[in-house]
């Protein structure tokens, strides 16, 4: 292999004229983090609602929850990106479609919403599993104390379910973070997109993707550390 290694490339100005290649990668990293965090907020809230719907003693609620999960879990994420970005503005009333198309940072908003809805289906499954893994008597005890259904979830079921599903939720968070790279297909200038343009401009493919890889690993490690900290701080004394 005849390859010109150049680790100094990161400190050379990028052709975009706004800084070095390192700056370019870092700005990609920031978009990755912003997209991951914003979409996680949607995924967590919506996913919790959908997961709860699937465990309610109500057939219609179960059906809505199941339909959501099956729809969003079974369409490839890439296809969902395209649907949200290219198809949705066309099928909406024209004024809304135009408004969407001229949004500044449209790839960011679209990516956030798309990922949020996609990951929500996965969070929903975890929440459902967590609630269903609790002893049946817990729901009964809450109900018998006079809690409404909402109160039983709020004060009894969810605090326990979330604790149980913390490890799988962490891995969903990491998946969500990695999935942000799919948004490069709709033009989001996140980390992977930035590594790719660096490679296209400079032909230093190995340096570019080594840097991207290390940055992904680095944030993943931070997330894992944070998650184990959270896990320890919400652990219940005396519980096996």
């Amino acid at each position: 292999m005849n390859y010109n290694w150049n680790w100094g490339i990161f400190f050379e100005p990028s052709p975009e004229g706004t800084g070095t290649y390192a700056d370019m990668l870092l700005s990609g990293l920031l978009w990755t983090i912003a997209t991951a965090l914003c979409s996680w907020v949607i995924a967590f809230c919506l996913g919790s609602v959908i997961g709860v719907l699937r465990t309610l003693p109500n057939k219609a609620a179960n059906a809505v929850g199941t339909a959501y999960v099956e729809l969003f879990r079974n369409i490839p994420l890439l296809v969902q990106m395209f649907l949200w970005y290219f198809v949705l503005p066309e099928v909406l009333p024209q004024a809304w479609g135009n408004w969407l198309k001229q949004l500044p940072n449209a790839p960011f908003y679209t990516g956030v919403v798309c990922l949020g809805f996609f990951t929500a289906s996965r969070v929903a499954e975890q929440v459902r599993a967590g609630i269903q893994s609790l002893p049946r008597g817990q729901r009964m005890a809450g109900t018998a104390m006079g809690f409404t259904v909402a109160q039983t979830y709020r004060y009894v079921l969810l605090p326990n379910a979330y604790r149980i599903i913390l490890p799988p939720l962490t891995s969903e968070f990491l998946n969500n973070l990695k999935n942000t790279s799919v948004a490069l297909t709709i033009g989001l200038l996140e980390l992977t997109a930035r590594a790719r343009s660096m490679q296209e401009f400079s032909f230093q493919v190995f340096e570019a993707f080594t840097a991207a890889t290390l940055l992904y690993v680095f944030i993943n490690l931070i997330v894992i550390t944070a998650a184990s900290f959270i896990e320890r701080s919400v652990a219940i004394p005396g519980q096996r």
Partner: protein
């Protein structure tokens, strides 16, 4: 502890001053409830209740009643529908036919506020079902605060009083997982009592316990019965039934086969099924 002076401990108000927390060993005597007087007023009326799971009939035309201050023990073979029957009283289990009235409120009525009704019907489960993520204090207060809308100070005071009365003051700050089964069940009883229930339901409260812990839980229940609490107790502890029950209900295959005064039941049950059951259960 606040700086307000503690009320002087009296027999009827045995609030243990800080530093003199009662030990686990003895149940504090004192009123767990406002003593009920047996006025003959009906607290629970179960009227011709039937329930099906699909085609399978779990309850068949069950009719009985529990008067205020009465202690009724429900026994019968496994699968006979005892748990199901007791859970219909606070509508934890829905039923398709008949009616149940608790303290004048119809359970099977669209206009009944079920959470409100349930908040005044204490229930104690076989597996305790304390809320594992909450401290003992929070277990005792959360429903008082969120359902009865009591202030946190009032709720805490009532919770801790009851905790003292089941002899567990020293454990207020712990989590359920840090207590033994017997201790958890006593907390569960205190938690139910904290809501000032008009009736207490027990579904095999001692059958998940190691034998050496059965006594401490039964002691609390005996105390409660003596103070006039209206109780419906599913149990196989015939010693408890002998000691405090007024009536014994014997169920088999979803039916109330026998509903008799305690002495009549233990003297000589009328039905053969109850006789067989009794001879089996009294053997060991």
């Amino acid at each position: 502890m606040t700086s307000t002076p503690m009320p002087a401990p009296t027999p009827s108000n045995p609030v243990a001053p800080a530093g003199q927390a009662p030990t686990d060993d003895g149940l504090q005597t004192g009123n767990l409830t406002q003593p009920g007087t047996r006025t003959g007023e009906t607290m629970i009326a179960i009227d011709n209740v039937s329930k099906w799971y699909g085609d399978f009939q779990v309850l068949t035309n069950c009719t009985t009643s529990v008067a205020k201050g009465e202690v009724v023990v429900v026994c019968g073979p496994s699968g006979s529908g005892k748990s199901t029957l007791i859970k219909t009283v606070n509508a934890l289990e829905p039923f398709q036919k008949g009616q149940i009235t608790v303290a004048g409120t119809k359970v099977l009525d669209k206009s009944t506020n079920l959470p409100k009704l349930r908040s005044r019907v204490g229930m104690v489960f076989q597996h305790f079902e304390l809320f594992p993520h909450l401290t003992i204090t929070d277990n005792l207060t959360i429903a008082q605060r969120k359902v009865l809308k009591r202030g946190s100070e009032d709720a805490k005071k009532r919770g801790l009083d009851l905790l003292a009365r089941v002899g567990l003051s020293a454990h207020a700050h712990k989590f359920p997982g840090q207590l033994s089964g017997g201790q958890q069940q006593r907390v569960a009883i205190a938690r139910a009592l904290a809501m000032n229930p008009v009736v207490m339901l027990f579904d095999e409260p001692t059958s998940a316990l190691d034998p050496e812990m059965v006594g401490e839980v039964l002691d609390v229940m005996v105390e409660l019965a003596k103070e006039g609490m209206t109780m419906m107790v599913v149990t196989h502890e015939m010693g408890f039934a002998r000691k405090v029950a007024d009536r014994v209900i014997f169920m088999d295959r979803g039916e109330i086969v026998e509903d008799a005064h305690k002495d009549d039941f233990f003297g000589k049950p009328r039905s053969e099924r109850a006789q067989t059951f009794l001879s089996k259960i009294l053997q060991h």
